[in-house]
Assembly symmetry: D3
Homo-oligomer: 126 residues x 6
Amino acid sequence: MNTELYNKGLKLLNELHGGHSGEALVNAANDICPDFATMVIEWSFGTILSRKGTDIKTRELAIIASCVTLGNAMPQLKAHIEAALNLGVSKEEIVEIILQTALYAGFAAVTNAFAVAKEVFNNRGK
Amino acid sequence: MNTELYNKGLKLLNELHGGHSGEALVNAANDICPDFATMVIEWSFGTILSRKGTDIKTRELAIIASCVTLGNAMPQLKAHIEAALNLGVSKEEIVEIILQTALYAGFAAVTNAFAVAKEVFNNRGK
Amino acid sequence: MNTELYNKGLKLLNELHGGHSGEALVNAANDICPDFATMVIEWSFGTILSRKGTDIKTRELAIIASCVTLGNAMPQLKAHIEAALNLGVSKEEIVEIILQTALYAGFAAVTNAFAVAKEVFNNRGK
Amino acid sequence: MNTELYNKGLKLLNELHGGHSGEALVNAANDICPDFATMVIEWSFGTILSRKGTDIKTRELAIIASCVTLGNAMPQLKAHIEAALNLGVSKEEIVEIILQTALYAGFAAVTNAFAVAKEVFNNRGK
Amino acid sequence: MNTELYNKGLKLLNELHGGHSGEALVNAANDICPDFATMVIEWSFGTILSRKGTDIKTRELAIIASCVTLGNAMPQLKAHIEAALNLGVSKEEIVEIILQTALYAGFAAVTNAFAVAKEVFNNRGK
Amino acid sequence: MNTELYNKGLKLLNELHGGHSGEALVNAANDICPDFATMVIEWSFGTILSRKGTDIKTRELAIIASCVTLGNAMPQLKAHIEAALNLGVSKEEIVEIILQTALYAGFAAVTNAFAVAKEVFNNRGK
């Protein structure tokens, strides 16, 4: 483990996904592959998402476009729509990014992604 | 055909992909499915890419993220990296968007996408 | 919106997917991206599905083959199996089209598609 | 090997893909995995493609829709467009089946598939 | 039907997936496409999984890697994790094979696969 | 950069892919995204491939199964077939692992993977 990357990643993870997300991720991986939580925290949050060259909002939108295109990454799509909202991205912009992939990922992928977005937006509205 | 959408789309297509792109697209589709060129121009350029809610640069970056993730859309990835450069997006930001998808689309997809980006950047450098 | 394409598409949508499908689609998109319903109705039903060159039954079978191959378009697969049945395609022919993709899309995709088909067929049987 | 299925499959393979296709397939597999040629001949041609419940033309169109959707099955897409033409399917109908997948498989997949179709059609024209 | 392949496949299926798996597979296919059960038994279990050249444990691990990569083959992933455990593969080795695909299939695919593995391991623990 | 992981990864990379592979990877990434080479070396070779719990040969076979299934990771498939051969895995076992994915990844993916394997085997034979 690289303590510096880990702490930097954990801090960003909690900022993006809510205060106990790091803890939840570690707990989920704990009884199957604890090192996987470390990889997610150090590599995804501590390294790639922390890089310069583009801002964190644009990075989250790129992840959303990628998850819509994968078509089977629904829990991840949900988490990154939440992260984008936490960063102050508007619902409208998230909707536009999903829609923008329609002619590449297909209308089925976009329809299913909109269902996920709707669920996140509705939960926020409460 | 919807003349208004078509003309609006054709104008944006030529702006993004270079002066004769619309003509080239129409010619390519001409002896196989002419209406497909119309659909690309009206739907992709005249409708979705022309929408409000996010700017055209962010839309191009979302398309790039989607094409990297598809993994088999190399001619389209090439075209949209060129479009992003034409819009003034920096090489660095394009590289970061491709890299951002690495843990979603996989390292093979990103390696192959970087090869495409390198080719585009090299051609520009000439 | 193109009123002519929209009305033509809405009529076909209701014929293929049942009397209130258009309304349901519009309602579902309403609080997330209303224009997406318009795109589905004008582009998918009003334009592509309404073209000449092959009949509507064969078009629905091609959509089924495509959805089985995508592997993550289950709600769409369900809807188009229903549409094919509404057009008078036999259960046997739908089964054969799904099976025909087995060596391209894989046995997992086909197994999961058969589960969807079975659910649709059972609901019809009631 | 099941001689009956093998001979039935080999006959259909040669009818669909041209007189020496079976021989070519066997030769290609010969120095890597000879049994794979047998599986293709017995399972694909001798079993699935030979079934009742839908006609062989519709089966070929379903394979084309599946290959367009896969996006990386270009040699197979080429072979089955040729088979469809050999069965008397019109170029127009093949174009329509490819186009029909556009909103499911995406415009990039369809653009690349049209390039394959164009090549096959041009070779035929000579 | 090839009785020899069928019986050989059925025996292996029951060994790998538990005593009544063959029966369950046949029942599931019965009212939709009975021949599909025969194909699975003869082709997958009686032919490919029964081949020489590598051992059955390595074959199951290759299937697991393939199912993780597909990303939408969850019921099949579950079944083959169970089969690997039945063959005496350790939980640790299954976890490592899933993790090994992370940089190819992506972290979303691996996260979702670990959730499936966890469920199988927990059911075993009872 | 984590020097320990980097050196460990670079050593394994050169062992698996041939003496100058590390250098080649660094050079290829150099004018596009130098950090990507570091990530590949530290994360793929220094971390995941270096883990306990299964042996390196089985890890390479899992990567091969994953690359065949992706269907568009041809340069990576080629590299890992070479790595497996370098580790002493037999051509026969590599062929069997590719074949084992046939009913999951589809026959098109396997056909195209066999073409890659054949090319690697032929180059080795020289």
